[in-house]
Symmetry: C2
Subunit: 523 residues, 2 copies
Amino acid sequence: MAGVRNVLFVMTDQLRADYLSAYGHPALKTPNIDALAARGMRFTRAYVQSPVCGPARMSYYTGRYVTSHGATWNNIPLSVGEWTLGDYVRPLGPRVGLVGKTHMRIDRDGFSRLGLDQGSTAGRYAAECGFEPFARDDGLHPDFIYDPDASYERYLRERGYDGKNLWQDWANSGSDEDGALLSGWYMRNAREPARIPEEHSETAWTTDQAMEFIRLQGDQPWVLHVSYIKPHWPYIVSAPYHDMYGPEDCVPAIRSEAEREDAHPVFKAFMQHPESQLFAKEEVRLTVAPTYMGLIKQIDDHIGRLMQFLEAKGRLDDTLIVFTSDHGDYMGDHWLGEKELFHEQSVRVPLIVVDPSDEAQATRGTVSDTLVESIDLVPTFVEALGGQVADHRLEGRSLLGLLRRGAHAPAWREHAVSELDYSFRQARRDLGLGPSEARAYMVATDRWKYVFYERLRPQLFDLLNDPQELVDLGADLGHQPTLRDMADRLFEWSRQRKTRVTTTDADVERLSSFAGKRLIGLW
Amino acid sequence: MAGVRNVLFVMTDQLRADYLSAYGHPALKTPNIDALAARGMRFTRAYVQSPVCGPARMSYYTGRYVTSHGATWNNIPLSVGEWTLGDYVRPLGPRVGLVGKTHMRIDRDGFSRLGLDQGSTAGRYAAECGFEPFARDDGLHPDFIYDPDASYERYLRERGYDGKNLWQDWANSGSDEDGALLSGWYMRNAREPARIPEEHSETAWTTDQAMEFIRLQGDQPWVLHVSYIKPHWPYIVSAPYHDMYGPEDCVPAIRSEAEREDAHPVFKAFMQHPESQLFAKEEVRLTVAPTYMGLIKQIDDHIGRLMQFLEAKGRLDDTLIVFTSDHGDYMGDHWLGEKELFHEQSVRVPLIVVDPSDEAQATRGTVSDTLVESIDLVPTFVEALGGQVADHRLEGRSLLGLLRRGAHAPAWREHAVSELDYSFRQARRDLGLGPSEARAYMVATDRWKYVFYERLRPQLFDLLNDPQELVDLGADLGHQPTLRDMADRLFEWSRQRKTRVTTTDADVERLSSFAGKRLIGLW
């Protein structure tokens, strides 16, 4: 029989769930990812803890809600005191590697306070979110943060590419007939092929690095985070993926004129952001979406390569595989671009888990509608590798029970919660809010999606009768009882954050049994 | 003119506010503490963040609510990632010393994860809650945790005392005519004089050590935490304090028969604890209270010594002085012993702040009814020493404005919050609650005191019409609007905990002004 010795934790960036054929996209075929779903369990209601890269990833890696780990937006450093996936699984044996993106920022003040050296083993892990950075690459290297020593930059340089910013000017630009650059930063260039051949692309490189890590491990156990930077913008892709899809393959935008009238103030402010203004135009949407699909198709092909490699190495039998994303992409739905708000396009992600164990045989190819959160992965990995889940810190729940006892197991979470700190966005300034007032919380149940905004009225959607979330009931007095119930759920959630992180419940039970031995209350 | 160069942060343990003459005790005269009040500002509504030593102190030292720092009860280690008073004020110049008790427990797992060495400077500070332990002594050394190398033990040994547990058998025991020990652990022995002369008592020793620290500093600036272990039990004191007061000096117990009927389940369960059962007896109360008063009188005399010493050294002119306690003592009121619940006897503490600055001249000897919390001290110290308050971590507010602009400054806090984790107590087991369900939160406004209990109904007291808190309105349907309002305050409070601890609001403002420079949303 097969047990779990390794974990392959694949993450894409900005991949919305419904842009995979397994999740129903009519034109985009992703047979390799679909094959994972056929071998494992596919979750239809998997939510990220924040629909933004940085906080979403810190929740994936810490197994804690954003409020608990505190890295509320991109580039907010993760406090040095936060425990991560690596801290939990490394003591169980495996080498814990990273290929690709984490969006981790080091807590320099915290390091300095504790006299921690980034050169020490422990310091290195704490600086890299618990991973050994086998080949870290966070993507997005515009000139003002360009690092010539980044892994993928070095790779391109070794391949003979020349210039100041190879990532930007080769991997993420096209060129016109005269050889002039057509930058991928400009979405009008989305249909151009990138200047590099596909085998030199970031997606190919990430896959190559992943295979190299696995090869080097031989028979030694590992946990590998393969973290693709795509299909995140710049929306540009190498041939042949750049013209594999066209406007005729695009699904219609999900949006209504009514949405724009009397929109919630935050929703309205986000509609004013430049990316939303652009994606509201059909021309932009139909230029970008085919390339977004091409980027996904490319990832699917590399997932195929990676699986063939695993099979050849005999690793399919002892490797738990997760395929997911850090958040979605509005792609013009609801008149928005990018992500951050809580519509399904943004906060829902694909999640497929393949458990190689015999115990999971019965659930292969099944679909679960259970409310799942990205914080559930760390406990899943720990349990799969035979560890004890540190539930005095970890706030998710292991999926292993679902994977092994079936998708029809009773629901074990009444609601999913996601959070947003939009203090860095123009919307916050437009609304006149302070840097600590721009917070929002989603509470989603089987039927309802509620969004609580500090200082502003809530939103409410009836997912049963309005699955496209086009009608906001948040100001509807007729729904006061539901609004109150959802607020109470959020209140309860807020009181349950795990901050007693140095002592387990078992410790409490053990120590409190000595209560009678205290020398207090004697006469 | 005088500016603040030093901070003398005096804490007593288990001293309830109304056992000082400055706070109205009719029989117990505390002229030296009263003299501080005459030179500074006395706060009538100062609340601790939890009416238990450990969490209360961690809030004093971190400037954060208990939920935020996570050390929710005695002996719960403070997470190594938590910043403390020392981290904030040491960079401003002063040596930051400790004499006496902190109740700090090291976060061993956190140290190990980061490869931190307790022998390093940073490691030592992190292990000692940010202080340099000039003479640490946490008191309470029963045989099962006896440490022969503890500072005060060594002191007693050097004075020629002999035996296995000097703290217990000399400093906290009396003896009968035949020389047999009468242990202070047994309250029936409270009226016995301790076996050591007063000048060798813990209170005297603590004061001696404080003076030694200050003497050694000469003209160099310092922040010194002088943390008396008394009047905490064991209730026993050296002559002449042991018979300075008698039953005739005791104030009547504040309690009613009605309280025992239909009491809130947690209140009722605490009434069953052995210390409560004992203190409910008049004999116990009248035996213990005179000694409790003696212990306080002794502290007052040593405060006098300490002030004379400061005056002689010229330090009264440049030292900010705080006198407070970590929580109170029921002393039989409400049929309870010890502390932990949220009646004023337990959660309210004396707080006197003497600001030597000329700017504080107008407020000397005044009284403030402002709602003040113990987390306000760290920001007060930082501001007084000329630092910038790190309000992305610190949750209190500096008192300096009140101290310098007057007690009649507008109220700047609408409610005070205190928390309780009673998971270690028998009450939790009696109520059948799990180790993470035994939580309670107090919200106190000018008029109301509300206590929210997980899984159980709330309590509500009308402080205006029932200042003795004898009538619990928490189950009274007529008070639903108030109960709802108080719950909403708690909900709001719970959303405002500071967890984005690595980035300041100013950072957010600065970084978000670059939002327009992102290369997103370009066509």
